[in-house]
């Protein structure tokens, strides 16, 4: 599907979705309330059929006090991409899991939890995945510090 067509289809599914500029592939920001329902429709709508979650990660905008989730979607049927951005409050980053839409999301969400401390509602097994189980803090947050870390000399 062409980019314009893709964007208007997504907007017809979710009117609150806004287009992001300065990206090389179609990218939309959507409100966090719409996440599980919209994602399921993105997968199931025959014209879209985003059947693959290539990557799920997060960006820590700590100056603006928000964490932005990124879902990179791909359709193996139509061969088109879509990036979905969801903005969360940094102090209370809670969103509903999409692990029942794409199974792979289960581990990718565990990694985002591990690194950014995003909490996923109705995730089947939200544990740390890379770091030790008793690790304190979330190291990819920009203000993370621990006693092992070495500060760069000024």
């Amino acid at each position: 599907m062409e980019a314009n067509e893709l964007i208007s289809t997504v907007q017809s599914l979710e009117p609150a979705a806004t287009l992001r500029d300065k990206v090389d592939r179609p990218a939309m920001s959507v409100p966090k309330e719409s996440v599980p329902a919209l994602m399921r429709r993105l997968r199931d709508e025959p014209a879209l059929s985003f059947d693959m979650l290539c990557a799920h990660t997060a960006i820590d905008w700590h100056n603006e006090n928000r964490i932005e989730l990124v879902y990179q979607l791909y359709s193996t049927k139509h061969r088109h991409y879509l990036a979905v951005f969801v903005s969360l409050l940094r102090d209370m980053p809670v969103v509903t899991s999409v692990s029942d839409v794409w199974r792979i999301a289960e581990w990718q969400e565990r990694e985002v939890y591990d690194m950014f401390g995003v909490l996923y509602r109705s995730h089947p097994d939200l544990r740390r995945i890379l770091l030790d189980d008793d690790w304190k803090g979330f190291p990819l947050r920009k203000d993370y510090k621990d006693e092992f870390m070495l500060e760069a000399p000024k």
């Binding site: 890379l130 030790d132 190291p139 993370y144 621990d146 092992f148 870390m149 070495l150 500060e151």
Partner: protein
């Protein structure tokens, strides 16, 4: 081998001429050891591609130095090439692997990561700042990643260290590591001048002499 290295020194040493015999045995044993290093396949990140794969492949051919028999088990290996970043979660495993290797065992740290933490030294929550914080390292090969030639130079240094180093009288004692760091107060110009001098003096090669000298 165990009999020779453990029992023999005590028996032969008191005999007249025994220490001479022991020294020549040292030379033979060290020569054998240095030419049959069996590395452990242990690559943790990008350096592994250069050091383990490119060096072992046909173009560079690690087999020329007798070190191509990579083993996936530490019990059959005697050279641990730390090729890549060591993270804090990996550190206990690295130590375990090292301890499982049979004596005498040698360690080469390749790449900035294994030497000092390299590109990840500051503001990083995971990277160990140098493999020598965990296990003793014999030879450091600098680079990010080192070229296969650099790694071969490291292996040759290790072979030199093995040949000159250990004695069966005092197993486990080695010469100091061949350090990659430059002594303080040396400038680039001095290095270049010295290299130029070396290259010019080595520019003339007597073919007959160099063929035998190269065998070492």
């Amino acid at each position: 081998m165990g009999l020779i290295t453990e029992k023999l020194p005590g028996i032969i040493e008191p005999v007249p001429g025994g220490s001479v015999l022991l020294s020549s045995m040292d030379a033979v044993i060290n020569w054998a050891r240095s030419n049959s290093l069996w590395p452990l396949t242990f690559g943790t990140s990008c350096c592994a591609i250069e050091v383990m794969m490119a060096s072992g492949a046909a173009r560079h051919d690690l087999a020329r130095f007798g070190a191509e028999v990579t083993r996936p088990s530490p019990r059959q290996a005697d050279l641990l090439v730390i090729a890549g970043t060591i993270v804090r979660k990996m550190a206990p495993r690295l130590k375990l692997l090292y301890e499982q290797m049979a004596e005498p065992r040698y360690v080469i740290a390749t790449g900035s990561c294994a030497i000092s933490g390299g590109p990840f030294i500051y503001n990083n929550y995971s990277t160990v700042r140098g493999a020598d914080e965990i296990i003793p390292v014999d030879v450091y090969v600098p680079g990010c990643p080192p070229r296969p030639e650099g790694f071969f130079y490291g292996i040759l240094q290790l072979q030199r260290l093995i040949r000159e180093g250990e004695s069966i009288r005092r197993p486990g004692e080695r010469r100091k590591p061949v350090l990659a760091a430059l002594p303080a107060g040396i400038t680039l110009d001095q290095i270049q001048a010295e290299l130029r001098e070396l290259l010019e003096s080595k520019a003339q090669v007597k073919l007959g002499a160099s063929a035998t000298a190269g065998r070492g």
